[in-house]
Amino acid sequence: MRRLLIWLPLALFLGFIGLFASGLFKPDDRVIHSRLVGQPLPVFSLPAAASDRPALSSGQLATGKPRLLNIFASWCVPCAAEAPQLEALQKAGAQIDAIAIRDARPDVDAFLKRYGNPYARIGLDARSAVQMALGSSGVPETFVIDGKGRIAHQHIGDIRADDVPMILEKLRAAQ
């Protein structure tokens, strides 16, 4: 018994080394996923964020057909980078609505003029209140909303060109 006990500290030490090493080499995942995936959208009603697009409320997202809800902001650089992908999604038949976070109408107008406007409706969330209600932690994010107004999928970060088929697939699956 005593013989074996002598090795205990060394075993513990090696155990800790292993724990730290695995922590060091494991890829860091700091993405915070919304817990609302699979649940109905929170109820909200936002004013219009752009001069030539109507306002957005949660009821308008439950249309019987799946839609995309893009969370963006005119001050966000990756949002500009994902604009061509949103346009490709719209060309492929996706209905896209958006919420502009902490934004102002002239800025949104200028952003859309410069990078294109694939949105049907755009709501203005000046104080990030709806963003918090959605469990979204940054811009850009894109939610797939099914026909009943439930959140089917959350894409965090900008949509890259090779994400487009996956998003279209999620839209089909949410039918």
Binding site: S34, R35, W75, A104, R127, S128, M132, G135, S137, G138
Partner: protein, 136 residues
């Protein structure tokens, strides 16, 4: 003269890298008038993790989203909501991750049990030592 004018103009340039052009939310950096409510709000804010700068609480963070969260917490406390209700509202959206307050969830049971176990182990060792000493 021109140089001075140019210099004066430069004072009014806003940095390009600013996160957002909007002014902060009304209660982001303003305390609630009632000190009791402010204390409640502050205690909650210190235990809510900032989502964009993940090793800070929203009370410490300068990120604009943290400001919006502070403002929302203060406004909801002023409207009479309890801090724990706001915490569970946030946890329902962002997971346990968003709260620094330890919970009694089963995954944390070993953590709660560790001090008791270690104390017990220490007492056992101590008893063994005392017995040995007596024999000697």
């Amino acid at each position: 003269m021109r140089l001075i004018l140019l210099f004066l103009l430069m004072l009014f340039v806003t940095p390009l890298s600013a996160q957002t052009a909007l002014p902060p939310a009304p209660y982001a950096d303003r305390q609630i008038a009632d000190p009791a409510l402010e204390r409640k709000a502050k205690a909650l804010m210190e235990t809510i993790r900032c989502l964009t700068c993940q090793s800070q609480s929203i009370a410490d963070s300068g990120a604009s989203m943290a400001g919006d969260m502070r403002s929302q917490i203060r406004e909801r406390i002023m409207a009479g909501e309890q801090p724990e209700a706001i915490r569970s509202w946030l946890i329902a959206r962002y997971g346990d991750w968003v709260s620094y307050e330890p919970t009694a969830a089963p995954i944390l049971w070993p953590l709660w049990a560790a001090p008791v176990l270690l104390l017990g182990l220490g007492l056992m060792l101590l008893r063994g030592r005392i017995k040995q000493r007596k024999r000697a």
